[in-house]
């Protein structure tokens, strides 16, 4: 991101200058939940910045949003409403959206779920659903600091971009080499 911002006036989010290299863990501390949500969505290519430049891999989210979403996968802050789908149906749904083999995705998701032991299902399912995709960067909107160790272990060697409301909650998500703002 180079000078990336969204909105105007009091609702302005940014401008942000952030680089995420392969395998790197980057945490951004935001002023409000709205800013954290918008920043994470810009990083995942879901929201298009109104000013500045954003590149995800070699792609511009304004022009090639689908290509960007092959690289960055988004995990929302909100808990998943569990009655909506059981685990296997949810993983099959996510696998179909990303065109990933259903059987391999289910097996992979069960391994991820094992690594996320202790994490509430409402937070574990969306992360498992994100990690079955071939995306090389995981964007987490205000992840729960209580589950930081399990989340970092489950994400493994992929790059992460997380948003937070204070530095203390960002700390567990960034390694020594990480860039932090």
């Amino acid at each position: 991101m180079r000078g990336a911002s969204f909105g105007t006036g009091d609702d302005l989010v940014g401008p942000l200058d952030v680089d995420v290299r392969a395998g790197e863990h980057v945490a951004v501390v935001c002023a409000s939940p709205h800013a954290a949500a918008v920043t994470a969505r810009i990083a995942a290519g879901i929201v298009k910045a109104t000013a500045g430049n954003v590149s995800i891999g070699e792609f511009d989210p304004r022009v090639q949003p689908a290509h960007c979403k092959h690289i960055a996968v988004f995990v929302p802050h909100a808990a998943m409403p569990l009655p909506e789908m059981d685990f296997e149906r949810y993983i099959a749904y996510r696998a179909a959206l990303w065109n990933v083999d259903r059987i391999r995705a289910t097996a992979h998701a069960k391994l991820v779920l094992a690594r996320l032991e202790g994490v509430h299902e409402a937070f574990a399912f969306p992360l498992a659903g994100a990690l079955i995709t071939p995306a090389t960067m995981v964007v987490l909107e205000r992840p729960q600091p209580a589950y930081a160790a399990q989340i970092v272990a489950a994400v493994g060697s992929r790059a992460t971009f997380t948003t937070h409301l204070d530095p203390a909650t960002a700390e567990p998500f960034i390694a020594d080499k990480a860039l932090r703002r």
Binding site: A37, I46, A66, K69, H70, E84, A92, A96, W98, N99
Partner: protein, 191 residues
């Protein structure tokens, strides 16, 4: 978008709107039993069911499904087709239920009325889908257009007695509404 992704979106959306589907089906069946004459009643009632089902697809109603779809590598137009199919299917099922109970009540013009009802409900439901991505005056404008599309089809068939013109109007209106929905979904920023 693969056929698998299309089917997954349709299945997840249908499951999340299963209550609307059942209520629409039952209500249309009841209304068909007590009001089995004329094209206007099934066309307007089933258009209303379609509009309600379309509005339920709006952002915020099923936020987790919205985010899964928005963060997936799908194009807006492709996603629009899958999402639009669900309220259209609900409206068509309601029309079928209406005609089924009307036929049990002794009505004999079922095939013609069913076709006329479909011509009314599909463009109005797709136009209402466009309203889900807008707020304020544009949203009200699209809802008014959805109601108008249904009324134009009914008037063309009942008063002008030009069913082929009504069918052509319905096809063009549905195509334009679906295209507009796809464009709006591609440009939509979910914040």
């Amino acid at each position: 978008m693969t056929g698998r992704a299309f089917a997954a979106v349709v299945e997840a959306r249908t499951f999340s709107q299963r209550h609307t589907l059942v209520y629409g089906l039952v209500a249309a069946g009841l209304v068909g039993a007590v009001q089995p004459r004329g094209l206007a009643a099934p066309a307007f009632f089933c258009s209303l069911v379609g509009i309600v089902a379309a509005l339920q697809q709006g952002p915020g109603r099923f936020p987790h499904l919205d985010l899964c779809e928005q963060s997936a590598p799908l194009f807006g137009r492709e996603l629009a087709r899958a999402k639009a199919l669900v309220p259209c299917a609900i409206a068509v099922i309601a029309a079928a239920a209406y005609c089924a109970t009307a036929s049990l009540a002794g009505w004999r013009e079922i095939p013609f009325v069913f076709a006329g009802t479909l011509a009314a409900v599909v463009p109005s439901t797709l136009t209402a889908s466009c309203a889900t991505l807008r707020a304020g005056a544009p949203r009200r404008f699209y809802l008014a257009m959805a109601a108008a599309a249904s009324a134009i089809v009914v008037m063309t068939i009942v008063w002008a007695r030009q069913p082929w013109i009504a069918a052509a109007f319905a096809a063009i209106a549905a195509f334009l509404a679906l295209r507009q929905y796809g464009e709006a979904l591609a440009r939509y920023d979910p914040v």
